[in-house]
Symmetry: D3
Subunit: 303 residues, 6 copies
Amino acid sequence: MKKFEKILRDIKSVKIQGAENVAKASMEALIAYFSKKNFRKPYIFISKFSSASKRLMKTRPTEPLLRNSIRFVLKEIGSEGETNEMTNRMFSACRQVLYHYEVAEKSIADIGSNKIENGMKIFTHCHSSSVTGALKRAKEQGKDFVVYNTETRPLFQGRITAKELTKAKIHVKHFVDSGGRVALKECDLMLIGADAITSEGKVINKIGSEMFAIVAEKYSVPVYVLADSWKFDPQSIYGIPEPIEKRSSKEVWDKPPKGVEISNIAFERVDPDLIAAIISELGVYTPENFVSEVKKTYPWLSR
Amino acid sequence: MKKFEKILRDIKSVKIQGAENVAKASMEALIAYFSKKNFRKPYIFISKFSSASKRLMKTRPTEPLLRNSIRFVLKEIGSEGETNEMTNRMFSACRQVLYHYEVAEKSIADIGSNKIENGMKIFTHCHSSSVTGALKRAKEQGKDFVVYNTETRPLFQGRITAKELTKAKIHVKHFVDSGGRVALKECDLMLIGADAITSEGKVINKIGSEMFAIVAEKYSVPVYVLADSWKFDPQSIYGIPEPIEKRSSKEVWDKPPKGVEISNIAFERVDPDLIAAIISELGVYTPENFVSEVKKTYPWLSR
Amino acid sequence: MKKFEKILRDIKSVKIQGAENVAKASMEALIAYFSKKNFRKPYIFISKFSSASKRLMKTRPTEPLLRNSIRFVLKEIGSEGETNEMTNRMFSACRQVLYHYEVAEKSIADIGSNKIENGMKIFTHCHSSSVTGALKRAKEQGKDFVVYNTETRPLFQGRITAKELTKAKIHVKHFVDSGGRVALKECDLMLIGADAITSEGKVINKIGSEMFAIVAEKYSVPVYVLADSWKFDPQSIYGIPEPIEKRSSKEVWDKPPKGVEISNIAFERVDPDLIAAIISELGVYTPENFVSEVKKTYPWLSR
Amino acid sequence: MKKFEKILRDIKSVKIQGAENVAKASMEALIAYFSKKNFRKPYIFISKFSSASKRLMKTRPTEPLLRNSIRFVLKEIGSEGETNEMTNRMFSACRQVLYHYEVAEKSIADIGSNKIENGMKIFTHCHSSSVTGALKRAKEQGKDFVVYNTETRPLFQGRITAKELTKAKIHVKHFVDSGGRVALKECDLMLIGADAITSEGKVINKIGSEMFAIVAEKYSVPVYVLADSWKFDPQSIYGIPEPIEKRSSKEVWDKPPKGVEISNIAFERVDPDLIAAIISELGVYTPENFVSEVKKTYPWLSR
Amino acid sequence: MKKFEKILRDIKSVKIQGAENVAKASMEALIAYFSKKNFRKPYIFISKFSSASKRLMKTRPTEPLLRNSIRFVLKEIGSEGETNEMTNRMFSACRQVLYHYEVAEKSIADIGSNKIENGMKIFTHCHSSSVTGALKRAKEQGKDFVVYNTETRPLFQGRITAKELTKAKIHVKHFVDSGGRVALKECDLMLIGADAITSEGKVINKIGSEMFAIVAEKYSVPVYVLADSWKFDPQSIYGIPEPIEKRSSKEVWDKPPKGVEISNIAFERVDPDLIAAIISELGVYTPENFVSEVKKTYPWLSR
Amino acid sequence: MKKFEKILRDIKSVKIQGAENVAKASMEALIAYFSKKNFRKPYIFISKFSSASKRLMKTRPTEPLLRNSIRFVLKEIGSEGETNEMTNRMFSACRQVLYHYEVAEKSIADIGSNKIENGMKIFTHCHSSSVTGALKRAKEQGKDFVVYNTETRPLFQGRITAKELTKAKIHVKHFVDSGGRVALKECDLMLIGADAITSEGKVINKIGSEMFAIVAEKYSVPVYVLADSWKFDPQSIYGIPEPIEKRSSKEVWDKPPKGVEISNIAFERVDPDLIAAIISELGVYTPENFVSEVKKTYPWLSR
């Protein structure tokens, strides 16, 4: 239970960040939480599981990957049998989820690397482990290419990307965010991650993503989104909007003069018309076909 | 002569910055330089004037306003008469230039303010004294509007704009540069300054300007450029490209890891198709008509 | 049988209008037609049903909702059993269809209302009960918004929309059709209904719909189509064009001078690229995914 | 003086309408007003002329043609000489203006007709005497073509166009305004008139004009504006917006239900990027070159 | 075996050309190869089949139709039973494939002809038997239309199209490739074939296809691709690019001067955004829905 | 007179081709024609000059350069003085024209070469001596670049370009015309010549020019037109269309089957919106400013 609380704190304080990392840690938190517990009655277990998972889901507003994972676990737990059977099914389900993440990550890196060719200039924004995974896989395959990336204000996640890639011996050219057009004009490919994907095929990702996608379209640079398919948000089927996180103004300007209002929205929606394809563990599909594939492959996800 | 050298240093060290400020200070530097001097022979005066003005022009690569001002002074000096006649014509010309700046600034603020209406949301990027002048004039006229501006990395000139406008009681909403699309989607007008304008109607301005102009076009937000018409670059008639200043990588990231190359280009070209009109002391004209008006009004400028 | 004939007349004379109303009335007409009849042989019943439903389908050329409903009833009737079993299956099927309409209507209003936010300006054209349903639901939820609508010449159905909405206390701003651009430039959302949807994702709706969708795209106003999924036209899979109704020239200009030819086409096709999503009882989907969802959910519909 | 008052009334009551007709009648009104008058002193004459012309200019807000004509007369009157000399110069100037109108009209018809080819389908909106002039000239030249026109709600000026053209044996196909896209998709050319033209090359014309121009661009149908060059609005050089007339809501819907707000804006601005050329008595020029030609040909107009 | 070798040679030497013809001939080659053979052991048969089919697949790099056909045959052969059972299943499968081609061809002609209307001008590029099939079917139905086609350098396949169509009494207007824009501006429809279709909805076809599709979009001419659905390339799901054939420079310029490099790429990718629909034996679907339909109908194809 | 007749024949038989070459030869033809003649009366000389120049102008329909040159000579001849004075003025004027060609050619090469940078890929279509002049000048300046060019069916003028450039050691990559998109996607610049330029800023050039300009715009490749400013067609001011030459069908397909109609239009109009600038001896100007500059510099040309 200590481990559970620690993970909870670390997600809240952004020590653990990124949709994949938050989801992984949450699965581990659930395993830890229940690993030394015995519940007399199924309904007590279910109620405990429910409150524990709610606490995890509350930490970040824009995280369908976590919500879908918990939905999967709940489905696997089912409503029949003894408490210990339920608990065992829960452990097994959490481990299946963790295995899913692992397989998805590897598949996305493999498939994504097939889009990278020798001599390419590749644009990316912010930090996405799916994107860096594909880039590093391509480098391992001996391909030679350059990554153009933005610093990504206010939190400079672009520097994390730059550090990770240079460690893998990938050459990086680094731009201020307003230099995005200059960078994209020279590029052959744009790769970004995703926090959520809707039934309209919209991709929710770090602010700036749609602006750069607009510029990419102007210069005929194809935009690929690399993401675990469980980032699909089933609520969007009913028109329920994915909430967009607004963060502290201090991150942008610590002490602005009075009268200056700071906007620090963390994400924006990228229109499917600006996206060539979504690369997930299911393969390379247009946003429209991604939606039908994810619904077909994981029917529990949208039911 | 000391004043001359001080101004020269201040321009080099960016203590004096902005095309208008650099040009003004340079005129004053020339007045100071020659104010206590006597030259025996006209050719000596001309040679001294030539070397002094060359030193001023070398301080910054992208400054047609200064180059055109010196061209005007040279034309006025002419080649006839005694040394003291020449010197006097020079003093008079420098003062005419300073007066031109003053009149132009006031006209641009007046005309520009006519484009601002009650209830508008107005986007701007970086800092331009022509833009803040028009905004403040509109505020003085009792108009109520909001300015959406970007922080403008790496040097945060957007903060200078925000401070200047809030001092004039104008409400400012401040965004990271990658939030430009989110900001523009809500705006009615985009106002920027210019460092140079070419015979093809291209406007050279702070990096990010064309990216935001592309987004503005997508959202049908008209883009107006506010600038002294002497920023027209006559060399562009002969296809000679205006040089684009590249600044120190330290401004972007002080100590990047090895293998990360920093791009710190200061300006970019905005295509005339993205610009509704250039507002100068000559009036409101499309980039094409701006070029013909400036050539007609100041024939010495393009000869 | 009298009721049947009356409904038939009322549809022909446009007393009953709108795809949903025509389909509902037709189901009721069929129930009425057969409610006091006994047929000795199944084949006689089938032949009677066939001719009655053909007469209903002939009333309006552009109505796949009705055609699909009858197709459903036919499928349910089947080919086995006694005449009275068949008749009973027919009554049951007609009632299922009526229930489907009801559920679909409610779902579309619910889902559609989720797209409406406080403070929005929403554009609509002509009259669609799906659209007014969603608007009224949003109003019931306490949302505050304004509807911009067109008068919709020649028959001024826009006035029907305006009346219905003001009755529900929704503020309406009313424009001549040529003011559509002025209206859309200020709007956040465009909502329209549909008469038919093809396998290419094209939406057939009142003339003017694609023109306004083109303008909406220019101003980045998302276009949502609200429609019962049974408006999908399965014949389009085989490339067979949905016929477009041409109405009397008198509706446009009663007595035009000789030599003036009047065009009074009732509908036009809206390209799927101009549509953000189709909102049906199946959820919010791009036109492409709408087609795959409708085929998956109602396999009998496209077989 | 009676004639003067009658003309004034007729313009106010829209008996006299169209920029050209209003301007012509105003010139005749001025001639009538002063034809039987003697003023003792030049300043009395000037003051009388000033108040008479102001009353004429007040009748309609969007009429630079009239304002420029009076400006021309004033310039010709000058400030020297006796009263009767002044009066004579005024009569002469008014007649020159009337002659200018006549020549311009004929030139525009001649030049405009050169754009019309056998077999063409030509779109027009509202009623413009410059457009019907060119069409009738082309018909006189034996060319065979069809005109697609809109009814132009709320005042149905499209019917005036249709009547005038059928009288000249030109075949007309007539559409409701929302059928504009359907009409334009088949057309080869779009011709409209203008009420005013600004220094940014924007054309102010009947509401719907920019909407149809947007559609025309989508279908690569070139848009030509036919107008007397004196419709150029010199105030636009200083950023002063041409006022847009708002007319009575009764014209749109006589008795709307409470809660329905009617928008009845008479004009809209057409972006120069949507216009192939402006055809005036000066020739065929892009909006940008039209502005420079008009300024060059009539320097008094923009001074 | 002789027949097998002859077919192999004829495909290599381009005597047999076109994706359908190559695939048909390959099936016949396989039937011939095994028709007089007996293999003692299943594994010998499998190994022989494998090497024979590999030789066929190697003849042309861009042919998923052939690869998918062989995949189908292999699946049908299975791994159980005696050699002669296997052989029989192989013969049967090859015949099923040939029958599939025949049915698909007929369906595409039927469905495609529904898109052709009286009076149309239809653009095509290169030679596609699916396209000529649909055109000839429409002609048989008594429709009257004109085909605008390109000569299609370097091999002038446009002449083959022109000859085939004129033989069927279809009027042809023939253009050099650079006249494609002039031709398309007048057309109502563009029909092309396909060599391969990817999971992103991209269509690979003769070089020039995307250029003409770009022009078609500018002129709002809908582009339909006519193709057997087995041209879907399942490897594209994993991001593996379809190889693009580069042919001999001699085809373009027999003896170019030294220093001139010749580019003779045979195909290019057409973006799905430029395609209205793909017409296959499965029906008329957008590229996105084509992909989901083909996966649903032939699950073995993408497994 | 023999030389005159020979030149006339050579122009007709396309031995002499290209707007510049035809104009030069025509000037020389006129000098030759009158060099050994004496006319007793001025009116005889004028009549002879008139008929000789008409015969030259009739040789090719799309040649404003020649028409403007003769217009210049006529203006210089004037109507005063003796026959021999007139003749002398004619000789002098013809030589001025030849000198103008020479200076313009050199200026265009100089200015055009300023647009070419190290490492660029430059697209061109057909053959233009202005374009090859600028490319060769850039090469002389030591710049390293590649030219991508089309073969330009039906007459393969692209091969002339390729030969001329490789002779100057410029690397050439050569494409079939339908490979234009593939070529342009990689290029940084597109350079073409012009046969005529209209008052609407349209450039008339070899068929394919607008198609490639459309593609260039899609890929943000700037298009520059290099041309002597005397190619401006003053008749376009009055809406008179420049005739477009239709050439023999034999050039495209020597013996097409019956029923195949060949289109062999030699030129097409390029829209000014697709052109970054026209580079003439007057400098680098947008099409709009080109028109105003040419009218200002050569007032006789448009009077």
